[in-house]
């Protein structure tokens, strides 16, 4: 099992560390030649989605990544990564996402909640976070809500979270994603 971690900008090392704890091999994707390696899944980390989108385009990664996901490559996007999966970006998940949905940094917060298919009492770290405004097809399923807003969803082998499981010691979200890849 080998997981690609998009390493253009943001908190990608944190994901690599979780995978390492779980005994899963990973590699960084910084340009097209990295992407050509064999992989069983892809993680899209947190960071700034505007930066990551621009770099995906400039480095000619946008179309190859989109195509692989459409062809069934399992993918896990957190925060900015969730935005990348949404309508108007990679657009592989049928979700409409509101960026900076909780406002500026003073609106960042912690919560604990249930994530369907994953478990109860999952610690959630929201940092200038987005949420899912709308699910656009019945292929996509909401997995979690916080304060009445959807903060996690799954569509086939695509998993998205508005929060940052990679910043906590609870690795259930990652383990769930690893299950999806096998």
């Amino acid at each position: 099992m080998r997981i690609a971690v998009l390493a253009l900008q943001g908190a990608f090392i944190e994901h690599e560390q979780v995978l390492q704890r779980l005994g899963v091999e990973s590699f960084e994707v910084r340009q097209k030649k990295d992407w050509l390696q064999k992989k069983d899944g892809l993680i899209l980390p947190g960071g700034e989605s505007t930066v990551q989108m621009r770099l995906l385009r400039e480095l000619d990664l946008l179309e190859p990544v989109r195509q692989s996901i459409r062809e069934g490559l399992p993918v896990f996007g957190t925060c900015a990564g969730m935005i990348l999966l949404s309508e108007g970006h990679l657009g592989t998940m049928d979700i409409r996402v509101r960026r900076n949905a909780y406002g500026r940094q003073l609106g960042s917060f912690n919560a604990v909640g249930k994530v369907a298919e994953v478990g109860d009492d999952i610690p959630m770290t929201f940092i200038r976070a987005p949420y899912i405004e709308d699910i656009l097809s019945d292929k996509c399923r909401s997995l979690a809500e916080v304060n009445g807003h959807i903060v996690a969803a799954r569509q086939g082998k695509q998993l998205a979270a508005a929060f940052h499981p990679e910043l906590t010691s609870d690795d259930r979200m990652h383990r769930y994603f690893i299950q999806l890849t096998s």
Partner: protein, 291 residues
């Protein structure tokens, strides 16, 4: 679950890693920076090079001007307050700035005390030119560190020496035996707990960016290779011939900082670089402010 501001603020800095934070003075420049791939912008009335040229007392920017920039972009907006100026920091918190830079680029308001940053909800980044300064700022509540460099010069030499010094001091701590750490803390004039953290983890407990004098994609790649987790570019962009192109090139250089072939392409046709002034030509060493 209780919200831990200190952790959330450190974590916002983690999200900025691998990115470029650009100084901007107008909403128009902020939009150029965002489109070029800045992961955040620093809103200020005058970029450091012009602060140097103008002389006199340099203060926090007009909140109205900062608000204009907040409205223009969707990425985090930072702003500077003077070292020790508690009230300026409170004003920046009141307008919900995403990060305050308690900065030596402005004229210090207090020659002894820095702001007690633990009293604020909003995060702070502070400059440091060695490990002791970095750990003192973290003890005061800074959740992100940057090298001081020598701002507004277009000369990267100071940022390089600050980053190199910090990294070598970190390596020295890592190699120490536990009973040597107490003396090390005394010499560094930093709290023992933070010294111990560095000894055990081989890094600062917060994100560490490079700043001061970065003007080219090669400068940015150099700082990343020396251990910076991201880069601030102040005067280097909007004092150059083609800001949009240079900014985009620096953003790419930070992502692929080890790929010399790509760096060569990125360095082509960027137009005129910031003119720059050498270290020995400088009358005012901003890095000596606030230790």
């Amino acid at each position: 679950m209780e919200t831990n501001r200190q952790d959330l603020n450190r974590q916002l800095a983690q999200m900025l890693k691998g990115g470029v934070i650009m100084d901007v003075t107008t909403p128009e420049q902020a939009r150029i920076a965002e489109a070029a791939g800045a992961c955040a912008v620093m809103a200020l009335e005058r970029i450091p090079a012009d602060i140097r040229a103008a002389g006199g007392v340099s203060r926090m920017s007009d909140p109205k001007m900062i608000r204009g920039i907040q409205e223009a972009v969707s990425i985090p907006v930072m702003a500077k307050c003077r070292i020790g100026h508690i009230a300026e920091a409170q004003i920046l918190e009141a307008i919900e700035i995403d990060y305050i830079d308690e900065s030596e680029v402005l004229s210090p308001a207090d020659n002894i005390y820095h702001i007690d940053k633990t009293k604020f909800k909003v995060p702070f980044v502070c400059g440091a030119k060695n490990l002791g300064e970095a750990l003192r700022r973290i003890a005061e509540g800074a959740t992100m560190i940057r090298t001081k460099g020598e701002p507004g010069t277009g000369d990267v030499v100071q940022a390089v020496s600050h980053m190199r010094l910090m990294q070598s001091e970190i390596r020295r701590l890592v190699g120490m035996s536990e009973d040597e750490l107490y003396e090390a803390a005394k010499q560094l004039q930093a709290p023992y707990e933070l010294v111990r953290y560095v000894h055990e983890n081989g890094k600062l407990p917060v994100v560490n960016f490079a700043a001061g004098g970065v003007a080219t994609p090669a400068d940015a790649a150099l700082m990343m290779q020396l251990g910076a987790e991201g880069v601030f570019v102040g005067s280097g962009i909007f004092k150059s011939g083609n800001p949009a192109k240079r900014a985009a090139a620096i953003v790419q250089a930070v992502t692929n900082y080890k790929d010399a072939k790509l760096l060569a392409e990125l360095s082509e046709d960027l137009g005129e670089a910031m003119v720059g002034i050498n270290e020995h030509e400088i009358e005012l060493l901003m890095a000596e402010r606030g230790k």
